[in-house]
Amino acid sequence: MSFARWIPAGLLAGACLAATAQDARKEIEKYQQMIADSSPVELFELEGEALWKKRQGAKNVSLEGCDLGLGAGALKGAYAQLPRYFSDADRVMDLETRLLHCMTTLQGRSREEATKRVFGNEDRLSEMEYLSAYIAAQSRGVPMAPGTSHPREKAAFELGRKTYFYRGGAWDFSCASCHGEAGKRIRMQELPQLFKPEYARPVVATWPAYRVSNSQFKTMQWRINNCFQQMRYPEPGYASDITVALAMFLTATGAGEPYRGPGTKR
């Protein structure tokens, strides 16, 4: 009856798998299918919708006038065409970067206020996370097709691609140190070769995502931030060019896959 028997199952030293590796994989796939079928993500979408329509900031307006690339307020399929170049900001932007832009310009909020809590926890998602859940959900069934024709979009892709393979930091890691070779794992966690389309496609089609292990909803900005944390780097700025470039590299590599998120992961 120890405390450890409850929730922090993730902290329990590994209970071993008795079944053969192949059976185990099949069963884990079944598990993943089952958790996806009973995910609370829709609740976050509802909250996100309310936040999208909530009047905020010095200008006391909602985000409904925000142009995510398909025109002011157009949400259907908008997430699937990000990241892309926006001439009004003269920047390549991913969803969160664009939302932040709309919060500061359209709503008149300070960057500091709007980014005070971008990563939430299991008790309460962040505003960005709720909004991401809602907006991403409006692209279900739409193939992922980030902007790849503008020179700035190509440059972002190149920067992301090169950074993916650049080794640095306290432990000499690049993204490819873990996500470089086929069939590798950290502990029991399989590591997709994200620079290859066949591995990137299912990933970009399901982020942002709910993680059952910690009951948290996570965005691509968080995913990239957390990778750098585990790589023992200093912290990348939220919505910085480097994070958008990596998101662009990943999304363009996985382009073509119909979006089926927000996902539910282990």
Partner: protein, 207 residues
Amino acid sequence: MRRLAIPGAVVLLAACASLPVGEPPALSEQDLIEIHAVLKRDFHTRGIATMARLEPDAVQRACNLHHDHPPAELAKTLEAAQLKAIPFPAAGLMGDWRNGQKLAQSGIGMQWSDKPGSASGGSCYNCHELSPQEQSFGTLGPSLRGFGKTRGSGAEMQRYVFGKIYNAKAYNLCSQMPRMGHSGTLTEQQIKDLVAYLLEPGSPVNQ
């Protein structure tokens, strides 16, 4: 509506752009300078993870420029320099394998969320199989199961294992294994405990 979300058209659009998808790039001197500049601009110190970590050393430079396959001569020179810098203890390289086991299991340390001065783990199981009792192991590195049993545990082997954990790049310049001692992740005593975990006949690794 600047762009209609017609699936076929969108896919075509992506295909037309013909980005070098799926291909690892070759990094030039110029690329390294540019990436370093971007990192300096877009990253910030947080907790113990300072910006100083972004300053590349000769090893990182060589591996980046040569896609982890530097010319033999360059690799030899740099490996020798790394080896020379390892502060091998005079004697007694075998610590306590029980402590070593705990270190091998622990993946904490060196992250911006870790407190200054807090002890790190060795993260060994993240990448290696060691004891047959631990089934949750990574496969980024080779299996080290039965390491001492098959390789022996004499003075030479102890020295090799200590050195390899302290600075893997002294033996294989572009190894993916972090330099656990060189980077300040593990202390001398912690590395000795890991040496014992790998080599002691009584350690679970050698059962």
